[in-house]
């Protein structure tokens, strides 16, 4: 399945979309498939500063818990409040309504991440179906 072209990806299956100093972060289609139906999301509070690769929060399904790692360094501005009542948004719309957090970031924060084609190749290598 084609990954959206308008964003970048990590090896731990997060996506990030940067525009004007603000980054939106979520998990990929593959990640939500692996997790199964999401039941609970634990997200950071506004103001939390994270390094690239640091833990941002947790996503729980019935049978697993997955840590979310920040693709970029920055400071959390908002977390997606909809997810408390509707965690299933992550399954239904991982690239849209299922976004997790927004961070304010410095220029070049997302340098070095994979584009859609590279992420797809990575998935194929991993043997993901």
């Amino acid at each position: 399945m084609a990954q959206p072209n308008d964003r970048l990806y990590t090896k731990t299956h997060e996506w990030v979309k940067v525009a004007g100093g603000e980054a939106s972060v979520g998990i990929t289609q593959y990640a939500q498939e692996q997790l199964g139906d999401v039941v609970f999301v634990e997200l950071p509070a506004a103001g939390k500063k994270v390094d690239k690769g640091a833990a941002l929060g947790n996503i729980e399904s019935v049978k697993a818990v997955s840590e979310v790692f920040s693709p970029v360094a920055g400071e959390v501005t908002t977390a997606n409040g909809e997810l408390e009542a509707h965690p299933e948004l992550i399954n239904r719309d991982p690239y849209g309504g299922g976004w997790l957090v927004r961070l304010s970031v410095a220029p070049g924060a997302s340098d070095g991440l994979m584009d859609a084609a590279a992420y797809e190749a990575f998935l194929a290598e991993e043997g993901a179906h």
């Binding site: 729980e60 019935v62 049978k63 697993a64 818990v65």
Partner: protein, 451 residues
Amino acid sequence: MHRYLAGEDDRRKMLDAVGCASVEELLASIPQEVRCGALDLPPAASEEEVRRQFWAYAIANSAPECFASFLGAGVYRHIAPAVADAMLQRGEFFTAYTPYQPEVSQGTLQAVFEFQTFVCQLTQLDVANASLYDGATAVVEAVMMAARVLPKRRRVVVAGAFHPDWSAVLDTYCEPMGLAITRVGWGADGRVDGGELAGALGNDVCAVVVQSPNFLGVVEDLSTLGPAIAGSGALGVHAVAEATSLGLLAPGGRFGFDVVCGEMQAFGLPAAFGGPLLGFFATKQAHVRQMPGRLVGETLDSSGRRGFVLTLSTREQHIRRAKATSNICTNHGLMALAATIVLSLLGRKGVRDVALASHATAEYLKAGVRDQGSGARARLAFPQSPTYNEFLVLHDDPDVLLARLKAEGILGGVSTTRFGDSWPKGLLVAATERNTREECNRLLDALRRLG
């Protein structure tokens, strides 16, 4: 072939199917260097022979049933309705596994859901788990949870007279987790020393543990302790050793404690020489994802019927592994079932009646001890303080006293000498609805004579 195993013919057919002449061929992967010879054990015994051996063990014990028994200090002798054990002996309950396959485990799951409900009712808190091992480890789990909820606070306060075994277990678990324990003593009235407690609270304290009724039998004033603890930002833990007290005394849940936990053996479970007992744990909704232990939740099946499943399992070791809220796996499910049955039989009236009768019996004994006058060798430690069904009788040689009482067919209580010098010397005397007036009078009379 032994009667618990399949037969010779079974084995022969299976060996043929796997293409081996003997089972030894299937054990080839076990290296010779670790093999053992014949085990240093006696040969198989018949049921009759095993009975003889175990009757010999039983006879070499003094079963409290044969005495007037006033033993307490964490394990209490209350009525055990016949129905409870009759239900427990159903193989569908006791030979079943943990209910991981809910479609064929609704019996166990629904019974646990009922247990969780009873515990919430008794503790006036929002959620309860499916059981822990015992009161001591339940308190430990509460403290561990507090340390997770308040990760920057690394100190634990234990306020007042706290069961020494439970205290020792807390030491064992807190030390490797880097949690320091401050112990606050009791005042002349046997209750938490309020001034000392105020001094011990601080913004580095994650949990404050208060046992009530406490180890010396005195009822603590949770109505002032609760708010004081909550005000300090720590999690309040109300520890309960005599669970039937919850039939008469309001639990910590009413006074803002975050956890009410402890030992439920008092609801008709056998003393069993200290195990298996029944740890219970209840807390506020806000802490549900940090709770230890199994949780059973209500849901629907694919045709819309109500059913029950294990839920919120991602907290537990089989999923969360190193980050689990506890390492507990096998818990005390059958004991929880036993308590559920007893609580069902007692119900709203019985839970209160058992508590009233136990309290009345203890008050009768206390009055009798008081009446022996201030010159008596055996005297109440805290004559003005409220107690539920257990109280401390001071005595300068409680072990000798106990031996003399036993010679008269009375198990008079638990001597505090076995817990070390920091405890006032005497006998912890516990009474329940099972102690008759005649037994009480025998104890009082013996104290008067032998005192």
